[in-house]
Symmetry: C2
DNA sequence: TGTCTATGTTGACGTCTATCGATGCAAGTG
DNA sequence: CACTTGCATCGATAGACGTCAACATAGACA
């Protein structure tokens, strides 16, 4: 595993390394239709700006995508990234 | 996903959320025999105390175990934890 | 016993991060 | 146009984190 690969992968793991973000991510992933608007998942015990902050982090890490439809903003997971992280953990290193 | 589950899982993801720790973990996981002494994997670009610090973090997160044999300390991965994280990412939520 | 090598621990320092209140922006509704 | 709702951004603050130098400890060997 090269230094660059480690940084890329670590960025994703780091994004899931916060309880609030993990719950938000799980909520989006398990929501009906594979997507959820912020109002559906914002009940994680923190204020609304904090939720927005964490969703932005998850988006920056490439784990979520967002789309505005009318009044609401819908978040959706990036399946390919999930698969890559799963492989990494399953014992199939990227390039070692 | 409850708050407690999120905290437990987030602690593991967080442990892998640092490039140095991810490289150390990958090095141990891919090393011959599934274990490695610190001298084998300490070439990650940081000082020796920092390596020790990160290995301690990984051990606290339950991702590694350590065993002293003579002069050297050998680290080994916890396979069950890996499988659990893999399942989490593969789309089999723990309790949602 | 003394010394060297291999690791772990401590203390300090600078940086990052999570959180909040206040505010701003977009879109629907009257 | 005014008002409300949903979400993002800004500024500030407290706490966590990564890193290193210095020191401590454990084992091997002469």
């Amino acid at each position: 595993m090269t230094s660059e690969e480690a940084e890329t992968a670590a960025r994703m793991f780091k994004a899931l390394g916060d309880p609030v973000r993990l719950r938000l991510f799980s909520a989006v992933a398990s929501h009906e239709g594979g997507e959820a608007c912020v109002c559906d998942i914002s009940d994680v015990g923190v204020s609304q700006p904090t939720v927005s902050h964490h969703l932005k982090k998850l988006k920056e890490a490439g784990l979520l995508t967002s789309e505005r439809r009318g009044t609401w903003v819908y978040y959706r997971v990036q399946p390919s990234v999930l698969a890559a992280m799963g492989r990494l953990l399953a014992g199939a290193p990227t390039g070692v």
